[in-house]
């Protein structure tokens, strides 16, 4: 279900950052962002809120004020700190059932 791999920098100026995370965009976010997956580099000590702000720069990807995020397959708040190699998923409103 994870689709194709795209290796793209959402914000090229952030490549100086020492941590790299894998970003997954599901549902409408993937549609709006034009991809289901990308990689983002961030300064060490970055938090979930920081990567959300970075991703807002992606053309077409309209995010709510505080989108739901999962880090390494568990829900994480905006203050959660990110580490090298983390899997960060942006979770649009779920609609299972």
């Amino acid at each position: 279900m994870e689709g194709r791999l795209y290796h793209r920098e959402a914000d090229p100026t952030s490549t100086i950052g020492p941590i790299r995370v894998r970003v997954l965009l599901f549902g409408v976010y993937g549609e709006m962002g034009g991809t289901r997956e990308c990689r983002v580099s961030l300064p060490a000590g970055s938090r979930v809120a920081d990567i959300v702000e970075t991703l807002r720069g992606r053309p077409g990807l309209e995010l709510p004020e505080q989108p739901v995020v999962a880090v390494n397959q568990a829900y994480a708040g905006p203050e959660a700190e990110l580490s090298e190699g983390d899997e960060v998923a942006l979770i649009p409103p779920v609609a299972g059932g």
């Binding site: 279900m1 997954l24 309209e62 505080q66 739901v68 999962a70 299972g96 059932g97």
Partner: protein, 171 residues
């Protein structure tokens, strides 16, 4: 998670949490649910409707964050088993394209008594709808399509977190 039944002691409840692209009717795991100590079995099934919010639906697909969805679903079943005296909780959600009338989800609960069946079943489906990362893409009779529940950015939906759960009380 060990539970004591009226006569003797039972082992932990049987729990399965499954994501699959196969028709849910075909899953073996639903064939024999619970033991002879379980006097009640409740099966909830979600089916693809031909309409949603007044629009005629012609096609549908579920996308899932597969590993996380299965992990969340399993967590919900474990939580239900800890809260309610049940013998088995078998839950499966289908992903991929589905036809109208196909089963999207099936939750089968066996328990010694019916009250626990209803409570556990309702708990699982309500939690599933809030926590499990699955999305629904609907295609309509007029040719348009959309991701269900996807609000525009300025609508700023409430952030979802494990602490932000639906109440277990049935309305």
């Amino acid at each position: 998670m060990t539970r004591t039944s009226e006569v003797g002691t039972r082992a932990s409840p049987m729990i399965h949490a499954i994501l699959t692209e196969k028709p849910l009717e075909s899953l073996e795991v639903f064939q024999s649910v619970g033991t002879s100590a379980d006097g009640a079995v409740l099966t909830f099934e979600g089916r693809v409707r031909d309409q949603n919010e007044g629009r005629r639906v012609t096609g549908l697909a579920y996308e899932a964050y597969a590993e996380m969805a299965e992990r969340e679903l399993r967590g919900i079943c474990d939580e239900a088993a800890a809260r309610f005296d049940v013998g088995a909780i078998i839950t499966a959600h289908r992903v991929g394209p589905l036809e109208i009338g196909a089963l999207s989800v099936r939750i089968m609960i066996a328990a010694p008594h019916r009250a626990e069946c209803y409570e556990a079943s309702r708990f699982v489906i309500e939690e599933l709808k809030v926590r499990v990362p699955i999305w629904k893409h609907e295609v309509y009779a007029d040719g348009s399509a959309r991701w269900v529940g996807a609000a525009p950015a300025d609508a700023a939906p409430e952030p979802l977190s494990p602490g932000n759960r639906a109440s277990e009380d049935t309305p």
